[in-house]
Symmetry: C2
């Protein structure tokens, strides 16, 4: 017989169990108790709309090798869990997932869910298709994706989300707070990720919860109660209850061993008190969930039931099922005075040396693609409206869906895995392809002059050229010697008449251009360089699978003028008979570097001067405004930290920018500066090194320079990842100060190595001064203002007075340890041979005299960048007279009318019920421009000249409730004494049904639903 076990057992006899267990009914009926610390348990799941897996994979739960996550399980298991106890509550956030699930449910289940929503057990929070990023997103995309989610919730459930819930994005923007928060009608906004230094200070002075005024112009009229969580968006340590989470469960069956109710209650109370110590009022929120949790909702609720039961029996603190709405109402009822927060929460560092500023640039290609699609979607909806929405399709809806998903904080942010980035691109491409059909059909309908709302099968077949960026346009690369005309319809989505230069590739020099009236107009040929052709052919092969069969020889450039919300038509024809004279006129003058004299380029007021020997940019001269400024432009690269392979160091990666030294990129000298001059454009071509090519363009009618860069493949054979930046240096005495936009909207003052909210401890003097740039960045001194605008989201800074730096591309070999688990090393492959991804992009620069300011250019030209002219191509029949049978110019507005310079149409969209969604935006901030930062007016009757507006109602920004209702419900928060109420805020007045004139105050965006 055994000794020890027997003895062991005898000792333990004291722990005799109680009698048999039985069914326990937990008391979960608790609501707020005034005198106690109320612990609001907020059951939630955070479901990334793509990250390590694609959105569909997350939804159905496939590809578990990448991540064990299945949103279908979450929603499937949630319903019975909520039905099991009516006190249980849950919030659901990401509508891209919810909509997928909803479509698959039986009607009976849908009705059950509707009851859960009606009873408040299930509450929709945030309510956009995704939890969008806040750094790399454009505000129009944020609005669109939120609207898409909110529309569905309104239609299916009749509900309006009350709360902003941006718990995961990597820093928080002003636009999120005031525009996507207050203007949407949210009562509060919650998030988790703020700078670790900021968080420490806020915990110390109990200012994690604030009243946030994100907009200088709209001030307190668009403020929102906002809370940063004390740590993250997860439960306190040891309170995780997913199926296999290893937090101790409550074992309350006295007939079993390990009964632990007292220990667990003590831990609960202690965690609650520790949070109460950094929180104002006696309400604290516990975010009970995290990424993709509640796959079996029961496991969480069972534990929370027990905690509520036993903690409340204990009585030291009070636990209850809650939602952020209930929490917000409790905060509001406490009548506390809150600190004011202005501006934003960028940049975000989660610890020393870990600035999440790399992702401002990560995946510049997809960031560019999203921006192009965003502009295209805006235009396509306009044309869809002009034609009349088709019930049977094609529609713009799939592009809307794809764009919405692409705003996710692991999508356009560039922090997803490569296969997921590919999925976003695929979705955008599918959406684009359908939207392209809408555009083609609408243009055909309009110019065939059939009924605008009832055009089913127009004859004209339009082609578009989404790959013009790589010199690929089959529609224009045609032989016109048979006498046909290439017809180009140029559509302008802006509300202003617009003049611009367009360019298309052509296969020979024998071409002429005529305008809508048939008049020959000036054009210019620019030779297509071999480098461009190589780039074109490689990528067409890589992505379309076959090399192009023809090679274009020239870019044909010419000026176009297009009415607001309308189009003009241009004709390209064989010009053999019109003689070589015109051709030689249009031919480009060549000029090469390596000469001692400086080179001045610029066909208009703006001149750029290059040094003759080095080919370096030296001077910026505007002959009109008399601005003259020394200017220098360079490239450099940062070497990403972490190449040494040590596990402890923080590497540079998809999220994090952690440079380990910066290295200038010297032009290698062997490539001469090449200047192409013509009547319309001057181009300066510079091969900076073997993998950076730059073209600077100056246009006759424009006072800015356009810089197009091709960066890549970034070499990594030395074993170092590299982050490529460009610096544009002037002599402006900018005094550490620069301005960067918030999601392409408001500009925010940035001061180098400084934070307004706390005493910054500088540990990353480069990465810690980077900010997201969506529209532009500028700086100024007493005499001048230097602005740079971008064509997509990038990271940027001003690291030296007078200088602007943009990060253009990143190729890294290490993962930065924030979950994506891949190095950001994008490639492009032909026949399984892969090279680093090249990126083609543009930025634009301009220097204005201080008294004029750059605001006007930034705002007007910024809109042109966002909404480029849309080109559609077709050919007429030989001998056909296009002009006779087709409308050649068109404006959707009254021909006498144009929007004021300070107003843009953000949305012009026919809804499924036939109504119109209209969004108008004032483009200027208070004080931004001496003439345009004023109240603007839009005459709707002239915007819709042929339609009778039967009804107009102003709504919240996401169009899911009447604006007046929203204002009525708005909570009025007390702020701390001594806090300035800010400048007087003006808002446009009500729209009178008679006049139908919309007033817009600076920075105001107004949303209307119209019926005709």
């Amino acid at each position: 017989m055994a000794i020890p076990v027997l003895l062991c057992a005898v000792l333990l006899v004291t722990s005799v169990l109680s009698s048999k267990s039985k069914y326990i009914q937990y008391n979960t009926t608790s609501t707020i108790v005034p005198g106690k610390l109320n612990v609001h348990l907020v059951p939630h799941t955070h479901d990334d709309v793509g990250w390590l897996k694609t959105v569909d994979q997350y939804y159905v739960g496939s590809n578990k090798y990448m991540q064990g996550a299945c949103v279908q399980n979450v929603l499937d298991s949630l319903v019975p869990a909520l039905l099991a106890d009516k006190n249980r509550k849950f919030i659901y956030v990401e509508q891209a997932f919810f909509q997928r699930w909803w479509r698959e449910q039986s009607e009976a289940l849908q009705n059950t869910v509707k009851q859960l929503v009606n009873s408040g057990q299930l509450e929709f929070i945030n309510g956009g298709m995704c939890m969008h990023d806040e750094a790399a997103t454009h505000y129009i995309d944020m609005i669109d994706q939120t609207t898409l989610g909110h529309q569905f919730l309104k239609q299916e459930f009749g509900v309006t989300p009350r709360i902003g819930w941006q718990i995961d994005p990597f820093g928080h923007s002003a636009v999120q707070a005031y525009l996507l928060g207050a203007e949407v009608g949210f009562d509060s906004l919650f998030f988790a990720r703020i700078d670790y230094q900021d968080r420490a200070k806020r915990k110390n002075d109990k200012s994690l919860e604030v009243v946030w005024r994100g907009s200088k112009s709209l001030g307190s009229s668009a403020q929102i109660f906002s809370g940063a969580f004390p740590e993250n968006y997860e439960p306190p340590n040891n309170f995780y209850f997913e199926v296999n989470d290893d937090s101790p469960i409550i074992q309350d069956d006295t007939s079993l061993f390990d009964y632990n109710v007292p220990e667990r209650v003590n831990e609960f109370v202690s965690a609650a008190i520790s949070q109460a110590n950094i929180t104002r009022t006696n309400h604290i929120m516990w975010t009970m969930g995290t990424d993709f949790k509640y796959q079996y909702a029961h496991t969480w609720f069972r534990q929370m039931d027990k905690f509520i039961n036993y903690v409340n029996q204990d009585g030291r603190v009070h636990a209850l099922y809650s939602t952020p709405s209930i929490y917000t109402d409790a905060k509001y009822a406490a009548n506390e005075a809150w600190p004011i927060k202005t501006e934003d929460y960028f940049p975000y560092a989660d610890r020393v040396n870990a600035y999440w500023t790399g992702y401002f640039t990560s995946r510049p290609a997809i960031k560019g693609y999203v921006r192009v699609m965003s502009g295209y979607y805006l235009a396509a909806r306009q044309l869809e409206f002009f034609k009349g929405k088709s019930a049977s399709g094609p529609k713009t809806d799939s592009l809307a869906d794809a764009l919405a998903i692409a705003q996710h904080h692991d999508a356009v942010s560039g922090t997803e895995k490569q296969h997921v980035a590919n999925d976003y691109a695929k979705r955008l491409s599918i959406g684009y392809t359908e939207a392209e059909k809408v555009v083609a059909a609408s243009l055909a309908c309009i110019l065939e002059a059939t009924s605008k709302t009832n055009c089913t099968s127009p004859k004209t077949q339009f082609y578009q050229c989404p790959l013009l960026n790589i010199t690929y346009c089959p529609a224009s690369e045609v032989d016109l010697s048979n006498g046909k005309n290439l017809v180009i319809v140029v559509y302008n989505p802006l509300g202003w008449k617009r003049e611009d230069v367009i360019r298309i590739p052509v296969i020979n020099e024998n071409v002429g251009v005529r305008d809508s009236s048939g008049k020959e107009i000036q054009s210019q040929l620019l030779p297509i360089l071999n480098a461009s052709l190589a780039l074109r052919n490689y990528h067409v092969k890589a992505y379309l699978g076959a090399s192009p069969t023809v090679n274009p020889k020239y870019w044909l450039a010419f000026s176009v003028a297009v009415p607001p919300l309308g189009f003009s038509t241009y004709y390209i024809s064989s010009a053999k008979q019109s003689g070589a004279a015109t051709i030689s006129d249009r031919k480009t003058a060549y000029q090469s570097g390596n000469q001692s004299q400086s080179i001045e380029v610029g066909p208009g007021n703006l001149k750029l001067v290059y040094s003759g020997n080095e080919g370096k940019l030296t001077d910026y001269i505007n002959t009109r405004s008399k601005v003259k400024e020394s200017i220098d432009q360079t490239y450099s690269f940062y070497v990403g930290y972490g190449n040494d392979g040590t596990q402890t160091s923080q590497a540079s990666g998809a999220y994090i920018f952690r440079p380990n030294g910066t290295f200038p990129i010297k032009s290698e000298g062997k490539f001469p500066l090449t200047v192409l001059k013509g009547p319309i454009i001057h181009e300066v071509h510079q091969q900076i090194n073997s993998w950076i090519y730059q073209t600077t363009r100056l246009y006759k009618g424009k006072e800015h320079a356009e810089v197009e860069f091709i960066v890549g493949p970034i070499p990594i054979d030395d074993g170092f990842g590299k982050e490529i930046a460009t610096q544009i240096k002037t002599n402006l005495a900018s005094n550490k100060t620069f301005y960067s936009d918030s999601n392409g909207r408001d500009f925010i003052t940035r001061i180098r190595n400084y934070r307004k909210d706390w005493d910054l401890q500088v540990n990353q003097p480069v990465a810690g001064n980077y900010y997201p740039i969506n529209l532009g960045i500028y700086l100024r001194d007493e005499s001048k203002e230097f602005s740079v605008l971008v064509d997509r989201s990038v990271g940027g800074s001003s690291l030296v007075d007078g200088q602007v730096e943009l990060m253009l591309h990143r190729r890294l070999l290490q993962d930065d340890g924030r979950g994506v688990g891949e190095a950001l090393n994008e490639t492009v492959c032909v026949n399984d041979k892969c090279t680093g991804l090249s990126v083609v992009g543009k930025y634009y620069l301009r220097i204005d005299p201080a008294e004029e300011g750059g605001g006007r250019w930034r705002r007007s030209f910024g809109q042109e960048i966002y909404s480029p002219l849309l080109l559609a191509f077709t050919q007429d029949e030989v001998g056909d007279n296009w002009t006779n049978s087709h409308l050649t110019t068109f404006s959707g507005m009254d021909s006498s009318y144009t929007l004021p310079d300070n107003v843009a149409i953000l949305t012009l969209q026919e809804l499924d019920d036939g109504k119109l969604l209209l969004r108008l935006a004032h483009l200027y901030e208070i004080g931004e421009d001496k003439d345009l930062s004023v109240m603007a007016t839009v005459e709707l009757k002239k915007v819709f000249p042929n339609k009778k507006i039967k009804q107009i109602s102003e709504t919240s920004l996401s169009a899911n409730q009447e604006r007046s209702e929203m204002e009525k419900k708005r909570l009025v928060w007390k702020v701390e004494e001594g806090t300035s109420q800010g400048p007087h805020v003006s808002r446009g007045g009500p729209v009178e049904a008679e006049k139908l004139v919309v007033q817009l105050a600076p920075m105001e965006i107004r949303t209307f639903i119209l019926s005709f």
Copy 2:
């Protein structure tokens, strides 16, 4: 703008999705289709009743750090999953878990579950408290734990499980098949683990499914259809659907990407066909689940719904929700002739060099404890019956529960983690402590001569000494000089009158012993050696927390005679006044080794001879039977493989015995052989080395030797794990053949390096010849039979002709890679200082002349080992006349009656409804003994002399159905032509209500429910 992503997208436009998804209703109504291959999907979970976590931890889901498993989740989530589709089915196995869960459910939910059981959606399979081990378990424990589970199912649900489901145990016993299978009334038995060579052959000739006749004696009357799974008890590869399993789910939403219905259907069909190729009939079973799966049952059922729907749409094979019962009925209906299987499936190797024969010995201490408790439980239930079961307790139920759980295949098997082993011991101890009170109260009631069925508060306080094995018995270590008597009540749980020697520690030599009649009887004092005291004091300190305060000086031994199912009383008193003469008589003669002459010991017929110089055992002589045999006994150790730390090699561990060389243990010489001789006992003490101590005992009235060993702490400072074996070598010409018991019941012929069922490829000549020993092992030649009996489950073999080897203890430093994740390195600690665990155990040996055979000894003495005399201690008052006021002898049976020598009472237990559960067992196999292998009879009237049997019904072995009903339902399987039907099988006839005489044929066990 970005190049590549844009292009990428364009390419992929072809994969346009279909329109929006919608709700899909899956067709799961399929039943068996005759012409097709039917794939029986059997949803199941395999829930270990303790392994890496304790049973309670598995149930509530705590300690997830050890393993992410929560049985509560399985059962919680199962109910809604079954309710969601009435075609879904599930089997549940382990009643220890199910009962925990059941007790915690509301009545409403219990009613729902009852409906699910009634409708057949939820079927209980196996139905014992656990899925017991089949190697280290005693058949009585197997019966008890099965009965406990089956009783509950019968009471709560009125159901009788139909199927044996031993899917995980590591090899399969004959007793499991015929006794716990056929005799329980099961229609089939399924399991997964058989030898890899056996499996390969069976796959090849389609003999994984057989008709198994496990008993030579009961033959076809106790056969059962049995199936070994083709691989394991899991689904085919890639068909796992736990929440985060990474098998591909069916993605059938055409509006999402990655639609994969055709691929998944193809994989299903291909896996089915590959299984059909090794299976007879067109029915195959897929075990859809594995360890602790279905934590969220929905995830499995959703996928299976889809498979059934789409596979049946496809039509190549036919899928259906099924259970092993449905599968068995389908097999039966196929009217196929099946191969016959006899004997068992031991030992089990899952691959070359990986024999799971280590666990036959792993944790010898807990194996011993289980066996002791098993015997105690049998006795305690008898006494509980005599007294009448108390509704308010104490009861034997918690010991029943603890013992039931301890039979689990990771409990008594020794393959659990250390903390789990501790938990089993704790449960046994708690159960024992309560049962001890039942025993004490019952004895007190009986001897106080109060009403036997209505005794509530007897005066006599009895103490028991469970730690006698380490010389610790506070009740006997008392000073009797005050004139009190130590009263010892000796209870005999066997149905025969019994004479035996008992021994108790006393603190001085001045003691005398009187029997029930008050007559002084012979006794013997044996000095307690310092080694025993050290062992005692260390372990009492280690496990009771404090050192004993007195030290006993002698073992007092004396012979006792006890009636069947009854007790005798003995009195120990101070013997100061009775003079030293008796004391000197009783004193022990000392004799030391190291002398040239041989030493002969033995107070009776049996003599053992030791060599004088070496102190080695040399001869075995029985003066009565004239047996004389050379005999040698040695110790050796195996060094466990895997100490080299290489990952690829198979280490020796808790499961696997993989020796890397064997090393003899030489007696170190410095410890002389010590012989203690007295009138009752002769003892030979041998200190084999510093960590092995052995005592050989010969008793006056007995013809066997008892060997007690203390092994440990096994040294490991050399870095080698060791497995300690003893070899007893005779000169018998056993011709490679030996016999080992099946779960303590039938003996099975073993032939070294040979398997009956296939042509064995020998790769482990030691480990591959090990078998589990529960009762004993023997071998024979033409003249003699050499038997060794054990006191617990151990591994053993005969590696050389004439020799028997037992493995006694194992201490290993490597994990063997089968999941437990710990090295089997048991320790015992005092004040945080730990030493290797020591094990105290016994084995017994005897050599009989061939014509007598050893069967009689093995069976009769085997019952005595299993059911030792139960000692209860108390003291009388000084001057009190115990005899006058107390019953001093008692028998539960008629005083003139005793059970025949070939019958034992396995169960005598009052049920909760007041009825009696009686199990009688014939102890002999056909041909085992010339006199006793015959039909036996038991006269129930004399077994229950004072009670009137109102009703008697014979039941299945687990007492959950009438035996006649069971026989009526039994499926009669066709076996392959040419298969012998085996010897004629006799069974006892029906019990006539008048006579109440039970007949028992050899090996028959009959179970009755009696009402009085």
